[in-house]
Symmetry: C2
C-alpha cells in the first residue's frame, strides 16, 4: 500500500509499505477515505522536531473499518469511522473523567496519510456514523479526528462561557476551529488574531466578530483597546511558540484562563505574571474521543461546518506538495484523498 513517510526536514515521500496487520485483539485496520496534514506535522518537516527517518506520518483520518481484532465488539468491517488521533480504551480511570488523551492504554494514529492504518483500542477509540455519510460531510468529519476537537479543547480549557469575550491567538486551522468552538460555547465576542486574508475570511465564517491583524505588542495593545483595557475573558493559544503564549497572557484579563493546545516549542511560562494577575493555564493534548459524540452530532445536524478549514484537496500522490503548500502558507489545510 502507499503511505506517506518522512525522511528528514522537507523530505516527504509516498512509499510502498506492507499493509498493517492486527497483532492484538483490540485493534482494527481502517481504510482511509480522507486524511490531511496537521500543523504539528510541520514541526518535523521544518526541522524543529527530530525526525525518525523513514517513519510513516499522518494522524488525522476518517475511513472505513477493514478488519477488526477478536475482542472488538462494537465495530465491524464496513463501518464509517472517525478516528481520534490519540487512541484510548475509554474505560480506564483517566478516560472515566474525560482525560482520554492520557489513557493508560494510549495509542496513536500513525501513517494516517496512507491507504490503511492501525487503530488501537478500537472499541474505546472509534466513533461511527449512522451509515455511510454524505460525501459533502467528509471534510467536516475529518476535522473531528484532531483539528476541530483540538480547537474545541482550547475553548473548553479557556473556560469560554455564554457572553464571554474570547481571543484566539493563531490563525492556523486549529485557531480557526477555536473561533468556531468559542462561538458554539456561547462567546458573544470572538477576536481572531490573523494577518492572512483567506484565514480572516474563514474566521469570519466561523463567527469571529473582530479581526486583529497586528501581532506582538501592537496586537496586544489593540486587544486591550478593544476590551476597554480589561482584557479577554478567555484566551485560546493555538500556536505553541513563546511569542504566542506571551501575547495570550498579556491579553487575558485577571482571573481568566489561557487554554493552550499548540504543542509548546521553546515556551517559558511567565509564572510571576500568572501569579500577579491570577491568570491560569489549562489544556494540552486534546482528549478528542471525549468530545467526539457531541461534535459528531453538531456536524451531522449541519450546525457546524468545520470542513471549511480545507482550502485545498489533493490526491495522496501529491502529499509532498500538500506539505509544501502548508509550509509556505499557500494553503490553510490540505485534504488528501488516497
Amino acid at each position: 500500500m502507499r503511505v506517506t513517510t518522512i525522511h528528514g526536514p522537507g523530505d516527504i515521500r509516498l512509499e510502498d509499505r506492507p499493509e498493517p496487520r492486527i497483532t492484538e485483539p483490540h485493534q482494527a485496520v481502517v481504510k482511509v477515505v480522507a486524511a490531511c496534514v496537521c500543523g504539528s506535522d510541520l514541526w518535523p518537516y521544518r526541522g524543529e522536531n527530530p525526525v525518525d527517518v523513514g517513519s510513516p506520518i499522518g494522524h488525522e483520518a476518517v475511513g472505513v473499518v477493514e478488519e477488526v481484532g477478536a475482542e472488538v465488539r462494537d465495530f465491524a468491517p464496513g463501518d464509517f469511522v472517525v478516528v481520534p488521533f490519540v487512541h484510548c480504551d475509554n474505560t480506564c480511570p483517566h478516560c472515566r473523567v474525560g482525560a482520554t488523551s492520557a489513557c493508560v492504554n494510549q495509542g496513536f494514529t500513525n501513517g494516517g496519510q496512507g491507504e490503511y492504518f492501525l487503530v488501537h483500542q478500537a472499541d474505546g477509540s472509534l466513533v461511527k456514523t449512522d451509515g455511510m455519510p454524505d460525501e459533502a460531510l467528509v471534510p467536516s468529519l475529518l476535522t473531528l479526528s484532531d483539528v476541530m476537537a483540538t480547537g474545541w479543547h482550547a475553548a473548553v480549557s479557556a473556560g469560554v462561557r455564554p457572553g464571554s469575550t474570547a481571543v484566539v491567538v493563531g490563525d492556523g486551522a486549529v485557531g480557526l476551529c477555536g473561533v468556531l468552538a468559542a462561538r458554539e460555547l456561547g462567546a458573544e465576542r470572538v477576536v481572531a488574531m490573523s494577518r492572512h486574508e483567506p484565514r480572516q475570511k474563514v474566521a469570519e465564517q466561523f463567527g469571529a466578530t473582530d479581526i486583529v491583524a497586528e501581532r506582538g505588542e501592537e496586537g496586544e495593545q489593540r486587544i486591550l483597546e478593544l476590551t476597554d483595557g480589561i482584557g479577554a475573558d478567555a484566551v485560546l493559544e493555538c500556536v505553541g511558540t513563546n511569542g504566542a503564549m506571551r501575547t495570550a497572557f498579556k491579553v487575558a484579563r485577571p482571573g481568566s484562563t489561557v487554554g493552550f493546545v499548540g504543542v509548546p516549542h521553546g515556551v517559558e511560562l511567565p509564572v510571576r505574571q500568572m501569579f500577579g494577575k491570577n491568570v491560569g493555564l489549562a489544556g494540552g493534548m486534546a482528549p478528542v474521543r471525549t468530545y467526539l459524540p457531541d461534535l459528531l452530532e453538531r456536524v451531522v445536524s449541519g450546525r457546524i461546518d468545520p470542513g471549511l478549514v480545507f482550502d485545498a484537496t489533493m490526491p495522496l500522490d501529491e502529499v509532498a506538495e500538500a506539505y509544501r503548500a502548508m509550509d509556505e502558507r499557500r494553503a490553510i489545510k490540505v485534504l488528501l484523498r488516497p
Copy 2:
C-alpha cells in the same frame, strides 16, 4: 506609634513612627487588635527578596476603625473589621468578576505589624463583624485577612469538589488552611505533605485524612501509591519553590489542576509535562475580599476554626522573636498583640 520595620535580612525592629494620616477620602485608619507574621514576610527576612531598608512590614491584621475619609460610607469609628491584605474598590470590572486582588484601585496593607495602619478603598476592602467579636474568635478572624483566604484560593483554584482526593504541598499555615479549605469544599480525602509533628497535628485537626512525611521523589511515589497510581484530583501548591511545584505536577492526575498560592521563587513551570498530562495551573495572589463574606460566616458560626494555625502569641514588642521563631520553624505562625 510603634510599628515593625525591616532593615535587612534578619533585621526586624520595632520603631516609633508617626501615625498614618488619611490623605485621600476613600481611606480609613485601623487600630490593630491582632496582627501576625506571614510566610511571605520570611522571604525578605531570609534575604530572598530585596529589602526596602527601614520600611514598615506586616499585612495581616484585624482591628477597629479609628478614622474614616470623607467618602467612606459603610464604616465608622468603632467598627471591628477584617482587613484583606490587598485592598480593592470592589466595583471595578476586575472586582465585579471576583478578581479583587487585581482591582484597578489596588492597595496593600503596609505596617500591619504595628498599632495603626491605613486602608485604601475602605468601603470596598473592609468587612465588619456584627458588633465586637468574642475574644476567642479573634485568631480565626485574623486568618481571614490572608492565610485562610489564601488556602481557600488554593483549593478553589485547584477545583476541589465534593468527593475529590486533594493533595496539599506545604505545611506552612497556608498549606494547613488549604487542608481545611479542601475539606470544607467537600474533598473526601485530603493528603497533607508534612514532616513536622506539630503541623501534622493541625493538619489532622483540619481534616487531613492522610499524612505523607516524605518529600521530593519519595513523597511523590508515596502519593501515587495512595491513589492507586492515578494521582490526585486536585493539588494545592502552598510553598512557591520549584521543588514544591515539581511535586505538585507529578502527583496531579491527568486533566486536573494545580492551585498555586505560594509566591513563586525560582519556579520553572514544566510546560511540556503540563501539555502532555493536561494538568493546568490556576491561582495566584488571593482575592481575599471576594471570599471574605463566606469565610466570615463560617468562622462566626463556629463551623471552622482556622485560628488553630497560631501556636504562639507574643506582644508586639517581641516581634523580632516572632520572626526568629517562624524562621527557625519553632512556631507555625505567631499572633502579635500591640
